[in-house]
Symmetry: C3
Subunit: 406 residues, 3 copies
């Protein structure tokens, strides 16, 4: 898709370094627009994780669900997905429903007014006329960013302006995927279990088996496997993890220019103090121990064959990909508390994670999907400033709970 | 569509006889998953019919509508229709809205993650991550059944699991169509009328004209006309009707292997004690009286020309189909209380029921469509165990009604 | 698309003059079906404008929004858009959501039952089985009208019947566009401003600069520019404006049989007492002053190139269209209070209104879009007879407001 001439107006802003852009997307200590994973810093990730936890707990009761449902029932959202993505779409839609936000959608650009010559920015401004939030996924890089700048200008002119949430834009950013990945890893390393009691806790059991293990993300060894160059997901996630202390990251991918870890990202991570390692397979020994046995967390990805060049196709035929696929027996050699994630969909033909692994307690990828719904609900609650009301209700709710179980 | 290798896991369960499967789909005396028309037995049909009647009555008042609307407002449904069907889709959507269930939909499989190599079972499990109910229509036989088994396994492993409702699967089953057809026939033979009073009742009037008529489905003569072999609707309905006493069924169709009554079904019905007759036309005399004058209920169907083979096309050109089309004058010869049903859509070119019949009081097919909404709402209320709350409200409501009419 | 044979039944009604049809579409002093812009007379336009203003004000507070949301939460609407239109669709959808009406949609006729041979009237009757309102947009002229007559007949037979709202039908009518245009012009000539006070008001300022200006639409000079023949919008709007006193209308378009003002409309307007003028460009002097400097309101339209014939393409290449495009400097020569409208989408290639004009206070076209939502919500409130409840709440609300600001 060609860049729209309307974007030129924002050219100087688009070409700034990322850290200069971030203040433009905030509003009184809150995110106003969500465009970049790097808008999430550690305090904010912690805060959003807590809100997500509270929403999840409150939603367990019917009464709590209704409280949530009433919070933003005066808001209407537009989900504008000109690039298809069922999972992200449905997860945002569910998040809106949880908070009572009425959803509207345009998924097929062919039916939109753009076929009558309308500019993409006019389309977004139309959406902002009817709706209170635009969640957008687009194949065009920086389109969401332009929209956010347009909204900022409208606000300055005292005209109607609404928040923009990037649900995946071109090849560059997919911030809410990074948010849900971080939330899933946070939760995994809380080592909580529903049977935790004063007699037994999962954390105590794990410490008895792995004396060095500690709560939280600091000090953990994270593996990334698969399509490390073309998956925008991994790129954002690695940078957010790098905000933590004493991280080790092991990148497991074929040594091929379309798949292996990009040098710029490696450098970025090392500059943040991450210990960066590369491996050819799960069996590569690191300090004498095979990678697979050392990981606290393994982030698997799908080989994005739809982006293969002609040359890629030829090259890939010569690669032994079995080194980059999990098996039940590999998983059984992992630490007992290790967490396996995958942004999904997984590829049933390729089989990077065979269904036989699904029942292993280390498989976190289905709950990761569900976490996407809670994390996105938390983000929307944050944007619309109802996270305080959620905390108040939660406090009340957990006090009452022993007396009146849901 | 090829069978997904993921289905193989369930092969032994899929090949069991139907009666062994049914207990797997129940949960504490309630339907958990709805896959087969034969899950409905007479007590359940009676119970669901009563719930549907109550919902219909309560919904007449604005206050009652709001009560219903709040019942399941903490639930979210996925309507996954990879085989299109406007009527079934809209009817389920309306049923959900009546009970306050938030709806989500995937109607176009091309936009789904399956295009990225995702297995159909992964897609369903994703839906179950975000939603509390999956209503699915698929061209693949037994797909819904596999999903139900997967959900049962997840439940056994204490993982998230949701009910599966089959909204039409391949050529085999469309249980909620059978449910709404039964509900419509139940209501037709209650002989109730809104002008019923102590002075006059429709039932009394009918008995004065047809002394042998009795309330209920037992003893009735039911005609089926049209495409009796390729319409899954008719097959399920006939078997549910066969649960009643002293039934007569007359099958009216051309003697052609693609259209006429299948022998196995004929045998099945006779084994259940049904008196089975076949006729070439509405005029075929049975005991000296033309079929059309004897029927208590006539179930018309559309010739599903989209399933014609090349040979069918040739053969059908030689058939005189006028024998299988209603006319106003045929209808006027039917019993006054007879009920004409059609699962719809009807074919305006073929004209199995011309619009001229629509105003006849025997035409039940439009209210049959609306019954689909009530019957499906009743089914969802049953699955989520709020039918008791509906009964309580109804009791209250009908007591108050003379004092405070809606 | 061919006329459906089912329409023939209504032929005698379809061929009546418009004024004889209007009473058929009313119900106890209210609109029942909305098909024609000419159903709106001045008192009704005034009434709907007031309801829209009240809804807009009430919706500013969360509490008010919830009141509106509960008004019609017992209603379900079908948006049947077999001709695509994102803007009209979304605006109706937002209007429904504001009043709590649950929305359902069929946008793709390929997925509908019509592909199985169903007649269009059967489809509409199916919708009316499940939903309480059908909002429809169709490429077929008079289809919505047939549907309204069908609904009237059903009502007479005591069968289920619902209101039909025409959201654009063929080339002839788009009444709710006319309604929102009128509402926008009404508001523009109220000369209200949010900073109005006893010290300063916008109206006083304008009167000091333009001594002859008066509140209201009477006496105004309205320009129409662009595609005056193929845009149904302009046709309806001109006729509604003609209901006012002492109107002047100036039509600015190339002298080409596909674009210029139709003679029949010109005559109609003159018969209503409108002073009708034509101009070649914004610079054409009228009484010695260029048109652009005289206009109180300018209604711009898009050249609908998708309807060009082969001959049009040849002809248009020879026309200098720069005369029919606004520029920033043209706009700056307009009266300070003048209002520029455009039904949108505008054509970014053609550029009838360049984005540089958007920030001018005379640019009303974005708020015009948002007015569409309020005006449609007002219309739905009128149809379902809840405008009285809105007025009552509003009165209460504005009384309380100083004490408890939203």
């Amino acid at each position: 898709m060609d860049i729209d001439p309307g974007f030129l107006e924002f050219e100087s802003r688009l070409s700034r370094p990322l850290n200069l852009k971030i203040p433009d997307l905030q509003h009184g200590g809150r995110l106003r627009h969500v465009l970049f994973a790097s808008q999430f810093n550690l305090p904010l990730l912690d805060r959003l994780g807590k809100v997500a936890d509270r929403i999840r707990t409150i939603a367990k009761s019917r009464e709590g669900h209704r409280f949530l449902n009433s919070l933003l029932s005066h808001k209407r959202a537009m989900l504008y997905f000109s690039q298809p993505s069922t999972r992200t779409f449905l997860s945002f839609s569910a998040a809106c429903q949880i908070l009572g936000i009425a959803c509207n959608e345009v998924r097929d650009p062919a039916t939109s007014s753009e076929s009558k010559g309308e500019s993409p920015l006019d389309s977004i401004r139309m959406f902002s006329s009817y709706f209170d939030l635009v969640i957008m996924r687009s194949p065009v890089s920086q389109f969401a960013e332009c929209c956010a700048y347009m909204m900022n200008e409208l606000e300055q002119e005292d005209r109607r302006s609404v928040p923009i949430v990037n649900a995946g834009s071109g090849k560059d950013e997919h911030p809410t995927q990074a948010l849900l990945d971080m939330y899933t890893i946070q939760r995994a390393f809380e080592f909580r279990h529903e049977r935790d009691s004063s007699q037994w806790s999962k954390y105590d059991e794990m410490r008895s088996k792995y004396p060095n293990v500690r709560r939280g993300i600091d000090h953990k060894i994270i593996g990334f496997c698969g399509d490390l160059r073309r998956g925008r997901t991994m790129r954002s996630l690695a940078q957010l993890l790098a905000l933590h202390q004493e991280m080790t990251m092991i990148f497991i991918a074929p040594k091929h220019p379309s798949l292996s870890m990009p040098d710029d990202l490696k450098q970025l991570l090392m500059d943040s103090g991450v210990r960066v390692l590369e491996a050819d397979s799960f069996e590569t020994p690191i300090g004498g121990v095979p990678v697979i046995e050392q990981l606290d967390c393994l982030y698997m990805t799908r080989i994005q064959t739809e982006h293969n060049s002609a040359q890629d196709k030829v090259d890939f035929a010569a690669i032994d990909f079995t080194n980059y696929k999990l098996t039940r027996s590999l998983v059984q050699r992992m630490k007992e508390y290790a967490a396996i994630l995958h942004p999904f969909p997984r590829d049933k033909e390729f089989g990077e994670i065979p269904p036989a692994v699904d029942r292993d307690p280390r498989a976190h990828y289905f709950r990761q999907a569900r976490n996407g719904m809670w994390a996105r609900a938390a983000l929307l609650a944050h944007i619309f400033d109802v996270d305080g009301a959620i905390s108040d209700y939660y406090e009340d709710y957990t006090k009452r709970k022993p007396l009146a179980p849901p």
